[in-house]
Amino acid sequence: MNKKYSIFITVLFCMFIFGFGIAHFIVPDRESSEQENTNLSQFKAPTLETLRSGEFMEKFEKYYNDQFPLRDQWVHLKARSEWALGKQENNKVYFGTDGRTLFAHFTRISREDLERRVSFVNKLGENLDVPVYFSLVPDKSGALPYLLPDNAPNVDDNSTIQQAKELCGEKVSFIDMTDWLGNPSGDEELMGISSFYRTDHHWTSMGAYWGYVVLMEGMGRDIHVLAWDQKALVSDSFYGTTYSASGAGWVEPDSIYTIVPEGGTKGRVTVTRYPEGKPIEGGLYYPEKLEVKDKYAYFLGGNQPLCVIRNPDAAGGKLLVVRDSYSDSLAPFLAEEFQEVHLFDLRYNNMSLKKYVEENGIDQVLVLYSSNNFNTDQNLFKLGL
């Protein structure tokens, strides 16, 4: 290398490291990342204490990465190059073989752990005098296995659901959804892919509709909503949590549809939310959530300890659903069937379930979890209290 060329290389390198180094100072820090759907670390000035303990350095490293100029583009570039190398996953998200669908890794658990978890549901059945139904929403990987990379580990083969079914006691009726959401027989547009968002782990309104159909059958009821021709498009730019983790910037956004209109088909459905213990009038849908990153919160406004939906026109009685977020897009259908639907979240609600059922005259209980949440949730023990 001659001198001129060496100067060129030196300048090129220095421009890169100094350039981004200085840009890091100049570019304002962001609160959160839309793309990654997470809050970003903020700078905290060091104190003698945090310097001595090394706490400052540890936090600074995270801050420096989180606020790196063009972070979203770097993350995207990494995912792209993993994909180009023939990787079928990035950051624990599988790239579906259709090139459009993303699957988060599934958490498997041991037989003993599952037994323990189902025993809480059985305990609930024994504690209550009303019918208790139990159902698990299959994981997307269990419902759409044909879109997974060959031999992919960490996926759901629906065995959790089959084992849970076997473990249910006499007082609990298990409702099996695997056949409905799992094997698309016939119209794939209706029964296959559209049961789940491609970029999120949740089921779509269509998936929730099939879930509703199966649940009503399992509970011995007729169904009152007819589906897809009543659909309404509410968003065509939904990027879900699976997308956020994957960095797969090349995947198109999902669309969100609803089937039941706000207020129900007869317009008399009311929603009472209890976000912090006090009742607030609400709705089935929250259009303002379509403006933010986590658009799934459009359904019932997102997680909350308790939500009560009332429909004076419905024939069914009072249903309590032990919920996770999958219940939010199911709720509009349930509201058509029951005079009252109580959505009770064990994660944020420490009231005694037994007492709540008795005091509110609940006449049937549905424990409904997504299979992955059921395997990982730390609050199931509250079912048995």
Binding site: K3, I9, F68, W74, N151, P153
Partner: protein
């Protein structure tokens, strides 16, 4: 602080360059000393005190040795060398091996040494008792100093700032190469700074960064899959795939660090010795250790093997010398029995080669030597990497056919996902790319190089900023 992190590359290092080059020549060692201490104190601030202690002790011992020698007091000089060696070994022994020894004694029912969990600090608040990063590297460096001063191989350093700069020099402080004082002596006092040297440092640094971030970090998760697989589920091909991934990960990680160290050194005017030379091309175990972590092998040769008598002794004594050296080499890599076993594993192969196997291999066809060399190294890594003895047995058993069959879906999935990176890594472990590069006309290289360099920098940055998998493998060294 580690090199492969955005705050190092875009904040610390530019600041160091700026400070270093705006300071007049004679102030530069002081600048280096200060930034070295910041570099070292970043991870565990309290352990900077060890640096001060190390500088003070070895500096004064060097002075004492010189004074004794000047007065013709050889006994005094020897005592000073011994005292310095004892200090460094105690330092290393306490931080690295205390809990290992205490735990091992307790395991055989002789638990008279307490296991230490927290260390008192000067201001009273105890800190967790962790291994100071790089301690195995810098204690070896400073030990070589007093020995070399005594042997007359190195001059005594009278300036404590210059000496401190040597002890703490950040490019090679935490992961080598292990530099002997005599190799750096002149450069500490007087070094050339030129654009040619800087540009070649840039080139070397980026090669190292790519090896570490794009190859080693990419292969690590594959090894993690197999390390986490229960023994009864390991298949033969899977076990080999896993350990081959580890072999490549460790090589690119470690040699990548060395490349980055050499590159950073050049950008600051230093020239360090090479540390790796395509180890997986070796045709024997002995050759492997002349190509792998060269600075460690040469340290043990010079300061342990030769003083013991080396190979110029009877066969029995030579085998004993080898046993000592390889047991020490093994346990140097971590305070755990598997590292000792790994050292003894190399003792067996190298001993056999010295006795008769080497002569056979010389006559054997080259390909057979290569296969032997690689297989010995790779099987050795299984002993090195599976620290838990209850898992090591099943892992080795699976590698040699006593596992859950030949292959399974997991193996096919992993192979499919890592095939391209494995091919790139295997090719990159040979001199092929370097050979092709040298064959290219100068003009072509001049055009291609900046493109490759920027591509390497950009990709490295992308993987670092995403930062999901970026381990530091030498925290046990």
């Amino acid at each position: 602080m580690i090199f492969s992190s955005p705050y190092f590359l875009f904040l610390y290092f530019p600041a160091v360059l700026l400070l270093y080059y705006i300071t007049p020549l004679r102030g530069r060692n002081l600048v280096l000393l200060i930034v070295n201490l910041i570099f070292y104190g970043w991870g565990e601030p309290v352990y900077v005190l060890i640096m001060f202690l190390s500088i003070a002790i070895d500096y004064s011992h060097g002075r004492i040795v010189t004074r004794c020698k000047a007065k013709g007091n050889d006994r005094g000089a020897r005592m000073a060398v011994a005292s310095s060696v004892v200090f460094n070994l105690l330092l290393l022994g306490f931080f690295k091996y205390w809990n290992f020894i205490a735990g091992s004694l307790a395991a055989v029912g002789a638990g008279f040494l307490p296991v230490i969990e927290r260390l008192p600090t000067p201001w009273g608040e105890p800190i967790p008792f962790t291994l100071p990063i790089g301690i195995s590297f810098y204690t070896f460096q400073t030990m070589s100093y007093t020995i070399d001063v005594y042997r007359g191989d190195a001059r005594c350093q009278k300036n404590i700032v210059t000496f401190g700069t040597f002890v703490t020099l950040f490019p090679q402080l935490i992961a080598g190469p292990i530099i002997k004082y005599k190799d750096l002596d002149d450069q500490l006092e007087h070094r050339d700074h030129s654009f040619e040297k800087f540009a070649s440092g840039v080139q070397r640094f980026i090669i190292g960064a790519c090896k570490k971030v794009l190859l080693a970090n990419a292969l690590g998760p594959l090894w993690d899959v197999y390390l986490a697989t229960p023994g009864e589920q390991l298949t033969t091909l899977g076990a080999w795939l896993g350990i081959v991934a580890f072999s490549l990960q460790l090589y690119f990680d470690f040699s990548g660090y060395s490349d980055m160290a050499i590159g950073l050194g050049r950008m600051l005017g230093f020239e360090f010795l090479e540390n790796f030379n395509y180890p997986y091309l070796s045709k024997s175990a002995s050759e492997f250790w002349r190509r792998w972590h060269i600075s460690l092998g040469s340290w043990f040769r010079e300061y342990l093997y030769f003083p013991l008598g080396g190979s110029r002794v009877g066969k029995g004594r030579m085998v004993f010398n080898l046993l000592i050296v390889w047991a020490a080499t093994g346990i140097w890599h971590g305070a755990s029995w598997n590292f000792l076993l790994w050292g003894l594993y190399w003792f067996v192969w190298i001993g056999l080669e010295k006795l008769f196997l080497g002569r056979w291999l010389d006559k054997a066809p080259a390909w057979l030597g290569h296969v032997y060399g690689v297989v010995v190294a790779v099987v050795g890594w299984a002993i090195f990497a599976v620290e838990d003895f209850s898992a090591m047995g099943p892992y080795l058993a699976a590698m040699f056919g006593f596992g859950a069959g030949a292959l399974d879906g997991m193996f096919l999935y992993c192979l499919r996902n890592y095939l391209s990176i494995l091919i790139v890594a295997v090719v990159a472990a040979t001199p092929l790319a370097a050979k092709v590069w040298r064959k290219l006309p100068e003009r072509v290289r001049q055009v291609v190089f900046p493109v490759l360099m920027m591509a390497g920098l950009v990709l490295t940055t992308a993987y670092l900023v995403d930062g999901t998998y970026n381990p530091f493998l030498y925290f046990r060294f």
